[in-house]
Amino acid sequence: MALLEIEDLTVEFRTASGLFRAVDGVSLSVDAGEILAIVGESGSGKSVAMLAVMGLLPWSAKVSARRLVFDGNDIAHLSARERRRIVGKDMAMIFQEPMSSLNPCFTVGFQIGETLKAHLGLSRSERRARSIELLAAVGIPDPERRLSAFPHQLSGGMSQRVMIAIAIACQPKLIIADEPTTALDVTIQAQILELLIALQRETGMGLVLITHDMGVVAETAQRVSVHYAGQKVEEQAVRDLFADPHHPYTAALLAALPERSTGRHLPSIPGVVPGQFDRPPACLFEPRCRFATARCRDKAPPRQGALAGFALCHYPLTHGRPIGHPNPAGREVAA
């Protein structure tokens, strides 16, 4: 049985102009010891889906799921108190903005120790010893002295290391890292990522890595889930995905990688992710898809089988060619 099982997760926000569906029927599963990458452009609902799993969405969010099971617990139906015993202990999250994710009023030691106290009930001296251990484990030099540092005295990379220390404090079974390196300097990004991967290997925990960066995915993940406008459009093992993307969106994402580009210009996908007001009626990617036909505009696409990467598409690609497409050469989208 998988560590985390999500079936048909939908999240809607109550907004001034009605309900907005940010996550639309997403199903995912993560095994213990596995790294699952979730990729997709900004606004595709990656963060919202994982915040829903953690129970961290604001009251304006309406969450529903056919099945939401973590480590044998049906987390959708737990009381708030029961859920708090899991969140932060067995399932932890790391966020995109390390600098603003730490509380400016409290020391590093306090913020790590708090988790230890809440979940493990450690005494003051035990907390101190364990905090030093954790800071050392995430590669912070001079950990004893750092305990009394305030967040504004730390760089972005150091802050993210502290956030990681907090996340691993209770030896979680799953860590969700939401673009953990996006806000950092390029040189620091690789270090933080390596740290996460190393910790994951050592402890055998599951890791969900949300990222924009296909390069990161290729190096780290075992499985990739591609999201677009709130939907999961494809899911494959990482090698297969890079070798043979089945959804045109995945193919476009990969073609946009600088090292794959053949022309003189960096390719990019024309258009933007649809929002609340310009949601296409059937296939959400249709307006930007070079293979779109009338059928894609009229009829919601079916979910393909495992062989076609669970692609949500009428004409899933095989080696770049759309199967069953009336004009397999595809239409060229005007730039």
């Binding site: 961290l56 859920r83 932060g88 202990k89 730490l102 730390l154």
Partner: protein, 353 residues
């Protein structure tokens, strides 16, 4: 390391830097003092009638006697000369003597000030103890009936004229219900020498039966009257800063740790929300003093406010001038303390280089 810029002008709280901050602030106080002295000096002389005319009243006084007394008090001198003399006197630490009691102004002030301080502290505690939780509850229940009711009450309290509010409370609780006394600090039955000047403490120390209860019952209504506006201000301010803070990333982090809502809101969010609230509380001190004057007058509370109002009626120039200067001095001092406290609460400022 991209440190956030500290609030401009905010003080460091340790070492020689803090010392120089305090010295600078105190030096800045001197021109302020001269300006305040000048304003009160001129204002009281613009009020028709001088101390001698007010004293003699309808009986009148012969022009020769009037001229004699005026000369005695130096009131026959040009006003600018009187003012310079007064400054000279102040520079020697002399606040003058009261024209009506002939006691030194400073002595009268120090005798009466504890009564005012007791009232002001009690009002501030009342305002903070009720205002902060009210603001927190309103913020966490944003947009609900609870929020609207709390903020409605706060708005009403905020716009309540002190005089009218005081009379209303006296009418209801003292006259109609007879629950609380109408005026004073303690029942006339009790007499004991003041040790601290705080009636609550003195009555407790006196060990007399019922003295403490009497002191408490005398303090309740003035506290409510004086504390209402700060209470409303603090509640509204806490609500708005709390709403801001609740949307911050670190609050989400606190929830992601699986902490209880009490810890998330009461510790992680509130600690940050209180930083601006403390500044507001500091700014309230000046208002509080102004309110204390009126409140004391309504309840015949024998403090600085009653003393100042009586000094206006008697045209007791030295008392009014000296009293206002001393009160301003205290307000300024408290503001400096609040600035220091701000640094203590906010680590970003405490550690600013």
């Amino acid at each position: 390391m991209p440190d956030q810029a500290p609030r401009p002008g905010a003080p460091p709280t340790t070492g020689p830097l803090m010392f120089s901050f305090v010295v600078r602030r105190i030096l800045l106080v001197i021109p302020t003092f001269i300006a305040i002295a000048f304003l009160t000096f001129v204002a009281i002389r613009l009020v028709p009638g001088d101390p001698i005319e007010v004293r003699t009243g309808e009986r009148g006084i012969s022009p020769e006697r009037l001229a004699y007394f005026r000369h005695e008090l130096g009131l026959d001198q040009p006003v600018w000369k009187q003012f310079l003399d007064y400054l000279w006197q102040l520079a020697h630490g002399d606040f003058g003597t009261s024209l009506s009691t002939h006691a030194p102004v400073l002595t009268e002030f120090t005798t009466l000030f504890p009564a005012t301080l007791e009232l002001a502290l009690s009002a501030m505690i009342f305002a903070v103890v009720l205002g902060v939780p009210a603001g927190v509850i309103a913020a966490t229940r944003r947009g609900t009936f609870v929020d609207y009711s709390l903020m409605g009450v706060a708005l009403t309290g905020f716009s309540m004229p002190i005089f009218w509010w005081g009379l209303l409370l006296i009418l209801f609780f003292s006259v109609t219900l007879g629950w609380t006394p109408v005026s004073g600090r303690i029942d006339l039955l009790y007499y004991f020498e003041p040790t601290t000047g705080f009636m609550l403490i003195d009555s407790w120390l006196s060990g007399e039966d019922g003295a403490f209860a009497s002191a408490v019952s005398h303090l309740i209504l003035p506290t409510v009257v004086l504390g209402t506006i700060p209470l409303a201000t603090i509640a509204r301010m806490t609500r708005s800063t709390m709403l801001e803070v609740l949307g911050e990333d670190y609050v989400r982090t606190a929830r992601a740790k699986g902490l209880s809502p009490f810890r998330v809101i009461g510790i992680h969010a509130l600690r940050n929300a209180l930083i601006p609230v403390v500044t507001v509380i500091g700014l309230q001190v000046g208002m509080l003093m102004a309110g204390a004057v009126l409140t004391e007058y309504i309840f015949s509370w024998p403090g600085i406010g009653t003393w100042l109002i009586e000094s206006i009626q008697r045209r007791d120039y030295p008392v009014l001038q000296g009293g206002i200067l001393l009160v301003s001095g205290i307000v300024i001092l408290i503001n400096i303390l609040v600035d220091l406290l701000y640094g203590v609460l906010n680590p970003r400022i405490r550690h600013a280089r």
